[in-house]
């Protein structure tokens, strides 16, 4: 069963053709890592999956096999089912850690406050921050912020998680704690699509690696083979650059 599927996904920003016909499937429980040079359309693809960006007319995005039509579907309901974590965290600075996590379940799902707190505390335990529920975002390190952001997305009990370069804004020593949380999620069977520059992580955790360039998927495969024997010249060049950086 595919959780997410795109067919002939195109996206223009004005004259700029950012995505040029992406066909992507993500099966239940699968961990898909997208790599590629900056400007290749990775983040835009991710943002088209939950309609933070609207794909061009004629593109198809299916969630659990059902086509999503922005004209007739309630996109808020669609987004509820997909968690997203951003490069720059975007925690809500006027809410403490606990309320950052409870605000969506309470106000979107109508979950009772007590239940939402229970869910939030459980998730804070899972991301290794059980003692931070009363802290304010401004008091947290980048790695802690990102772990709260992951907990916040998980609190909506999504079917799939989208990670958009979630370690790119972190100091190097804080990357590990965030990747560990994501790896735990993957081991727990969470379906996820992750845009990242962490090749080591991709190799270890991904079920499938996708290489994008110039708005197209140019190569994909299971990680061992992908990294050992890339077939495309552009993949080789890109891997050469990032692995020897």
């Amino acid at each position: 069963m595919n959780v997410i599927e795109t067919r002939n996904l195109h996206k223009h920003f004005g004259d700029l053709h950012v995505l040029k016909g992406i066909d992507l499937t993500v099966a239940e429980g699968e961990v898909v890592v997208i790599i590629g040079p900056s400007g290749s359309g990775k983040s835009t693809l991710l943002r088209c999956l939950n309609f933070l960006e609207f794909p061009d007319e004629g593109s198809e995005v299916l969630l659990d096999g059902e086509p999503i039509d922005p004209a007739s579907n309630n996109l808020d309901k669609v987004r509820e089912r997909m968690g997203m974590v951003f490069q720059h965290f975007y925690l809500f600075p006027h809410k403490n850690v606990l309320n950052n996590i409870t605000i969506a379940p309470e106000n979107v799902k109508g979950m009772p406050r007590a239940k939402a707190k229970e869910v939030a505390r459980d998730l804070l335990g899972k991301v290794g921050l059980p003692d931070k529920e009363k802290a304010w975002p401004s008091q947290l390190s980048g790695g802690q912020k990102q772990r709260v952001a992951i907990a916040r997305a998980l609190a909506m009990d999504p079917e799939i998680m989208l990670f958009d370069e979630v370690t790119s804004a972190l100091d190097p020593e804080l990357v590990v704690e965030v990747l560990q949380v994501i790896q735990d999620l993957a081991s727990g069977g969470m379906t996820m699509v992750m845009v990242t520059h962490e090749m080591g992580f991709a190799r270890e955790v991904a079920d499938r690696v996708i290489m994008m360039d110039d708005g197209m998927i140019i190569e994909e495969g299971e990680p061992a083979a992908f990294f050992a024997n890339p077939t495309e010249e552009r993949t080789k060049t890109f891997l050469g650059q990032v692995l020897h950086a």
Binding site: R79, F92, V108, K109
Partner: protein, 222 residues
């Protein structure tokens, strides 16, 4: 001079006290209305509807482009030719319409200053546009609006003195009457100035406390 000053204070103590009450009422009513007007026009200006934009720009442009005293007289005679209003209410509405334009720009600016990522994060959690505005954007925008709003409120408090020309017995008008009676305009206007100064200082302290109260995260981080 000190003795003549204290004479003036003594002589007009109750008149100025009453007048202070009127000034505070004028300020409170006009600024409360201005916040409502400001919020509505901020949303009109941020709207994607061109007619709403036009309306907001016209209102803000006209108010900012004309002196308050002109607007005050124009609205006073305009309003009183349609409905019978006391000069207090006519003055309050005029002050509100004036301050509302500036408040609208303050709200528009602070709403726009909130990182778009905040809105996207809210939407990614399934919040509607409206819910994201109410729970995520506006609370942050209000907090940022407090210093410029406090500033605008101080201006509003002092602008209320112009309503003296509509015959409302607030501080400035009381000073004019008193000075004409006691032939000590220097001392009298000095007293009036001190009344405004004290009010503004109290008000500033209140705004500072409100800002601190509304930013618990900054208190904790400090």
């Amino acid at each position: 001079m000190l003795s003549s000053l204290s004479q003036v204070v003594d002589m007009h103590f109750f008149a100025f006290l009453r007048a202070t009450g009127v000034t505070l009422q004028l300020t409170a009513v006009s600024l409360a209305l201005a916040v409502v007007i400001g919020l509505v026009f901020a949303f009109l200006k941020l709207s994607r509807n061109p007619i709403a934009n036009l309306l907001a720009n016209a209102y803000i442009g006209i108010v900012r482009g004309t002196p308050l005293i002109v607007l005050l007289m124009f609205l006073y005679f305009g309003i009183s030719s349609i409905v019978v209003l006391t000069s207090f209410w006519a003055g309050s509405f005029a002050l509100a319409i004036h301050a509302g334009a500036y408040v609208a720009e303050i709200f528009r600016g602070t709403i726009q200053s909130i990182d778009h990522g905040q809105h996207e994060a809210a939407r990614s959690l399934g919040m509607s546009r409206r819910l994201s505005m109410r729970l995520i954007i506006l609370p942050q925008a209000f907090r940022r609006a407090i210093p410029p709003l406090g500033n605008q409120f101080i201006i509003g408090l002092k602008d209320s003195s112009l309503v003296a020309f509509l015959g409302v017995s607030e501080i400035y008008s009381t000073a004019m009457t008193a000075a004409a009676a006691n032939f000590r305009p220097f001392e009298t206007y000095l007293v009036a100035g001190l009344y405004y100064l004290v009010l503004v200082l109290i008000f500033t302290a209140l705004v500072n406390r409100l800002e601190l109260k509304l930013t618990p995260d900054r208190r904790a981080a400090a």
